[in-house]
């Protein structure tokens, strides 16, 4: 899966499942402050990542991830590992 597909998949589930407004989706958007993702939403994102990419996010690996771009990077690294 290439980077474009990864970003498209993530954006789609953020808009369709987490119901984040599409116009807020930007590479530099802060997950918490700009997109409004809270701890309960993150529980659902864990499920969505497992469903769409086939692996489980580890919470300890997410501690430094603040922006959407960092989240794409993390998923890309895991998918291609």
């Amino acid at each position: 899966m290439d980077r474009a597909d990864i970003e498209k998949t993530i954006n789609e589930f953020l808009v369709e499942e987490i119901e984040i407004e599409e116009n807020l989706i930007r590479d530099d958007a802060l997950l918490k402050n700009d997109l409004g993702i809270d701890s309960l939403d993150f529980v659902d994102i864990v499920v969505l990542v497992e469903r769409n990419f086939g692996f489980k996010i580890k919470a300890e690996e997410m501690t430094d991830i603040r922006t959407l771009r960092q989240f794409y990077d993390y998923i890309e690294e895991k998918v291609n590992a």
Partner: protein, 405 residues
């Protein structure tokens, strides 16, 4: 002591998704019973059920509010939104007043079983999602509605089997009469899916009259062969009379009496003595005579033993007055945890519109129902004081007496 009145009602059931549709069905004697083929595949003895369409709440409620709602919570949300609108309670009112909630619910089986199935497959609880816990708990309805509507008063679920909804109204009325709350949202909710009724079906108490689903639920009839499970949700806004008058709210009726009892015996079988004690306690609480009651909405579910017990209790108290009786479960099936609340709503709608809904499918009395004055056709009648009975597993009994204002 204050007076507890009803200022708003909402209903989502197999005979209608709002008060207008339900009123029309009650008047027409229309059944909401059908067949769910999935139940047969799953191993049920009976595929009969009330047919209830799930409401679409996407676009109505934000995602976080929807994620925690189990099926019965969706029904309860719709019924409660209707009741609040009916009562003239809006967001400003909710912000400025302390409103409580007592809601009857006694299972959330689908949510529990689906979470279990996921966990068995994934072997990882963190893949259950954020809503699983809030959908799975017995208090799912009250925890979600209290959050959605920003309620700040008393907040709890009443689990009392098939009398849950009725006790919720009785307790709400007590809180209001005691001056502890000005307004309490009361009601009952019941999930309608193949995962929630399997163990009940396994007792062999569901009707097998699959050839004619609308004739399957036949309370008090000689040829009844069991109940038909059903569900949805019903909500009543219970408020102090003074508070309702002060804000100019429309008042449907007063909750004049609440009676309760426990049979103290068999876990599944009814007992006429327990039913009588609940009814007599409600009559005493209401300060009326038995002869003052114009109509009885019976609990009768269409099981051979349960209906006979209620008929015996009712005959011993009301036969001499020829008090009209009908069981709306003949149309709705047994709405279980919701039934006490929905049947209070059905009774209120009859009071409001001046008619008695029929006990459809009552063709031949048996020894026990023969002394009763069972309403078999829709009858126009001014109803001033009505009794609504609800009985449940474990011998829990509830009786409500409602007076039109």
């Amino acid at each position: 002591m204050k007076r507890a009145v009803i200022t708003g009602i909402g209903i989502y059931s197999c005979i209608g998704k709002n008060v207008d549709e339900v009123t029309e069905s009650l008047r027409a004697g229309r059944s909401g019973i059908g067949i769910d083929p999935v139940r047969t595949e799953y191993g049920y003895r009976s595929p009969l059920t009330g047919i209830v369409e799930r409401p679409v709440l996407k676009g109505v409620l934000e995602r976080r509010a929807r994620v925690g709602l189990a099926e019965e919570g969706e029904y309860a949300y719709v019924a409660t939104a209707q009741a609040m609108q009916d009562a003239g309670i809006d967001e400003d009112f909710l912000r400025e007043h302390e409103i409580g909630i007592f809601y009857g619910n006694d299972s959330s089986a689908k949510a529990v079983i689906e979470a279990h199935t996921t966990c068995m497959e994934k072997k990882d609880t963190t893949l259950l999602g954020s809503g699983a816990i809030f959908q799975s708990m017995n208090s799912t309805v009250t925890m979600n509605l209290a959050t959605i509507f920003h309620l700040k008063g008393v907040n709890m679920t009443i689990s009392a089997a098939c009398a849950s909804g009725s006790h919720a109204i009785g307790l709400g009325a007590m809180f209001v009469r005691q001056g502890m709350q000005d307004v309490v949202i009361c009601g009952g909710a019941q999930e309608v899916n193949y995962l929630c009724m399997g163990s009940f079906d396994g007792l062999g108490v569901f009707s097998l009259r699959t050839g004619d689903p609308t004739a399957a639920s036949r309370p008090f009839d000689r040829d009844r062969d069991g109940l038909v499970p059903s569900g949805g949700a019903a909500t009543l806004i219970v408020e102090s009379y003074e508070h309702a008058v002060r804000r100019g709210a429309h008042i449907y009726a007063e909750i004049l009496g609440y009676g309760f009892s426990s049979n103290g015996g068999n876990i599944s079988q009814a007992d006429p003595a327990g039913s009588r004690r609940a009814i007599l306690r409600a009559v005493e609480d209401a300060g009326i005579r038995l002869s003052d009651i114009d109509y009885i909405n019976a609990h009768a579910t269409s099981t051979p033993h349960g209906d006979a017990c209620e008929a015996e209790a009712l005959a011993s108290l009301f036969a001499e007055y020829r008090t009209p009786v009908s069981s709306t479960k003949s149309m709705t099936g047994h709405e279980c945890w919701m039934a006490g609340a929905s049947e209070a709503v059905y009774t209120l709608l009859m009071m409001q519109h001046g008619f008695m809904a029929p006990n459809i499918n009552f063709e031949h009395p048996d020894t026990w129902s023969e002394p009763l004055n069972i309403v078999t056709r829709t009858s126009e009648k001014n109803l001033d004081i009505c009794l609504s009975n609800s009985f449940g597993f474990g011998g829990t009994n509830s009786a409500l007496i409602i007076k039109k204002l």
